[in-house]
């Protein structure tokens, strides 16, 4: 209930600002007489999908011997086929543009179908080992399958799943945006993360440039830059820390500048934070006096804050 908005609506109608036919519905929402549960239902569907896939995972783990591998593989496969079959049946025709979901459950049934198919493939791979020593390639197969499904059925959620599964194939957990590189990464994983990040960013750029599935671009670019910056930042504790740090500084500055010009606010934030962290690491290397370190963090944010306020005036990010 929003009494200020409820008070304003009749005045705005009187002043001719609000169309009279829209006013009753707006007024009911403002008075709390009409409540949308659209996003709550979507969230519940998402939780439902998580519960089902989690339950299926446990079923396989706990009943592997009792049920038998063929029955499990066939059962999960059938469930996946049922979900995907429903999706295929109700899906609107393909378009390179944004296609509205035919109904609330569409995205989530698609997600469920893809997850079950992926789980089935993983199970078959573990149990029957068709790929043998190249077992990890099944992640690539899943990533490609998810990407195709995402493009065909226009699902950003499944597209993000495709990207993160591809990153997993290259040894990078996208769920932690490259942060796990801090603890267990060697250079190989780090370079893989950077390569994945660059690939995702380029993919996003291509989508935008070609005008095909433009609304997927933010997913690819954001995940890509998070992986690149996370990988570079993780190198700051390595023996050749300075090279990674300089890389992070340059990448951060470049991203911030590019995002500033393109008015991409979240990317601008990533760039600023990355560049500041890298600069602080370079300047404070070898500084043993605690007071100097604190002084740096006391003083240097002030010009950053001033710069941000000036940048905001130029960019005018909507509140």
């Amino acid at each position: 209930m929003n009494s200020d908005v409820a008070e304003a609506i009749p005045r705005l109608v009187e002043a001719g600002v609000l169309p009279p036919d829209e006013a009753p519905r707006l007024l009911r929402v403002a008075r709390g007489e009409l409540l949308s549960v659209h996003w709550e239902l979507r969230a519940l569907l998402y939780v439902g999908v998580l519960l089902v896939t989690g339950g299926v995972g446990l079923l396989v783990k706990e009943n592997l011997d009792r049920i038998g591998p063929v029955a499990i593989a066939a059962g999960i496969g059938l469930a996946a086929a049922a979900a995907l079959g429903w999706v295929v049946r109700v899906a609107p025709p393909f378009s390179w543009g944004e296609v509205p979901s035919p109904n609330l459950a569409f995205d989530y049934m698609l997600l469920l179908g893809v997850l079950l198919a992926a789980a089935d493939l993983a199970y078959v791979e573990v149990k029957f080992t068709p790929l043998g020593a190249n077992w990890s390639w099944h992640l690539l197969i899943v990533a490609v399958f998810a990407a195709l499904a995402a493009f065909r059925f226009d699902s950003r959620v499944v597209f993000s799943l495709a990207l993160s599964t591809f990153a997993a194939w290259r040894g990078v957990s996208a769920a932690r945006f490259g942060l796990d590189l801090w603890w267990k990464a060697g250079d190989a994983v780090r370079w893989n993360a950077i390569a994945c990040g660059v690939l995702f960013a380029v993919l996003g750029f291509s989508l935008k440039r070609t005008g095909r599935k433009v609304h997927f671009e933010p997913v690819a670019v954001t995940l890509g830059w998070l992986l690149i910056l996370g990988a570079l930042a993780s190198g700051m504790g390595e023996p050749v820390w300075w090279a990674w740090t300089v890389g992070l500084l340059l990448a951060g500055l470049g991203l911030a500048a590019g995002a500033f010009l393109a008015r991409r606010f979240s990317l601008f934030a990533f760039g600023v934070v990355a560049a500041y962290a890298a600069l602080s690491r370079l300047v404070l290397h070898g500084v043993l006096a605690e007071s100097l370190g604190c002084f740096w963090f006391f003083i240097t944010p002030i010009p950053v804050i001033v710069g941000l306020i000036l940048a905001q005036r130029r960019l005018k990010e909507p509140e």
Binding site: V17, Y123, H138, T165, A175, A188, F295
Partner: protein
């Protein structure tokens, strides 16, 4: 809040609603411009990304300044710590007041950071006083929580930060945990406060920020009430950690707790559904899930995989059914509920969904350094693929 800030807050609510109407296509650009002209905003604010950045860098600067003064003082500064805490706390509070009332800043990030840091330093000062007064640690913490509750409540009232109101309620309730009878307090205060906060959260006399503050405090109070009557919290003596002997085992008490664990979510949901109050609906759903998990914990109904799969399937089916029920109603609504999105920004929410999918469904990374020797263990469910082990 000052009258000027309250007026700006009210105008801000209308402007925000108008932007949502525009997003949903209910009004055009000209109408939006006319509404923004009719309800002007003289506050200096920035967008959400810049707000987060300004908040972050202000906190870094304030922490750096405090650390710097501590470091240059060396050992001598330990004696001056309370003075420094008080100076920083008071200084930052004055700075916040100046920014909000004189500079007319709102949603700017900097003033939020200075207010939070100011409250933190003042609470630290209170803790220092208590700690050096030979109070027991429990009592020192209780006094600190109480002080934090008043500071947060004052900040919510003066500067209009709803989150602080929720924090104030949580701190206030937590300050009783060190004493006997905390559970009773956690039951009594929410029961007394809930009707008042519910009324204030809808009062047209209050500006939107104060109404939201009441709603936040109400949410925390309802959650605390559920925690106090919950069977798990009773069995684990969650609120009697330091006063274990105060709560003797009693079958009657346990029976009441079992009944309350089952009933409280139902009551919240019933109130929420009947009155369409979002706080009650949210708390009802959340506590309902918690009670079902509690039931599974105490009563072994079926294997976990079956519970998860069935509950997931039931949930999906229930959502399908509910959606159909709502959409079949006149104007795609029933009893004041609709499954249609109403004047909401779709793009940003869908980006959040994509982010959530990456966080919750991504498969584990395969080990890159592994030599290509297959050992029959490369899959786990839960993501868009598999790795690790079944």
């Amino acid at each position: 809040m000052t009258p000027a800030a309250a007026l700006a807050d009210r105008n801000g609510a209308v402007r925000a609603a108008a932007r949502a109407w525009k997003e949903a296509g209910a009004i055009d650009v000209e109408a939006l411009a006319a509404i923004e002209a009719a309800y002007p905003d003289d506050r200096q604010g920035v967008g959400p990304v810049f707000r987060v950045l300004l908040f972050l860098f202000t906190l870094i600067s304030v922490s750096g300044a405090f650390g710097f003064f501590m470091a240059i003082g060396g050992g001598a500064m330990n004696n001056a710590l309370p003075v420094l805490l008080l100076l920083f706390g008071a200084g930052l509070t004055v700075a916040t007041e100046f920014q909000i009332t004189r500079m007319k800043r709102a949603r700017g990030g900097v003033e939020a950071a200075t207010s939070l840091a100011g409250i933190g330093f003042l609470a630290g000062f209170v803790f220092w006083i208590c700690d050096t007064s030979n109070l027991k640690m429990d009592h020192s913490l209780a006094a600190t929580f109480l002080a934090a509750a008043f500071l947060l409540a004052g900040a919510a009232w003066r500067w209009g930060y709803p989150l602080y109101a929720g924090g104030a309620m949580a701190s206030f309730l937590w300050s009783f945990v060190a004493f006997p009878g905390a559970r009773l307090v956690w039951i009594a205060i929410p029961l007394l406060a809930a009707p008042i906060l519910t009324r204030f959260s809808e009062s047209a006399r209050l500006p939107p920020s104060h109404r939201d503050s009441c709603a936040f405090a109400l949410g925390v109070a309802l959650a605390a009430l559920y925690a106090a009557v919950h069977l798990g919290s009773l069995d684990s003596h969650l609120l009697e950690e330091r006063q274990n002997a105060w709560l003797p085992s009693s079958p009657v008490l346990r029976g009441l707790s079992i009944a309350a664990t089952a009933l409280v979510p139902v009551i919240y949901l019933a109130i929420g559904l009947r009155s369409r109050r979002y706080v009650f609906l949210l708390l009802g759903a959340g506590t309902g899930v918690a009670s079902l998990v509690t039931l599974r914990y105490y009563v072994h109904l079926a294997p976990l995989w079956m519970i998860l799969t069935l509950s997931g399937a039931v949930l999906v089916a229930a959502v399908f059914g509910l959606r159909r029920y709502l959409e079949a109603g006149p104007g795609k609504e029933r009893h004041g509920y609709t499954a249609e999105p109403l004047f909401e920004e779709m793009g940003r929410r869908r980006m959040l969904e994509a982010g959530a999918a990456v966080l919750s469904l991504s498969p584990e990374a395969r080990p890159v350094h592994e030599e290509p020797k297959f050992a029959g263990g490369g899959g786990s469910f839960g993501g868009g693929g598999a790795s690790g082990e079944f």
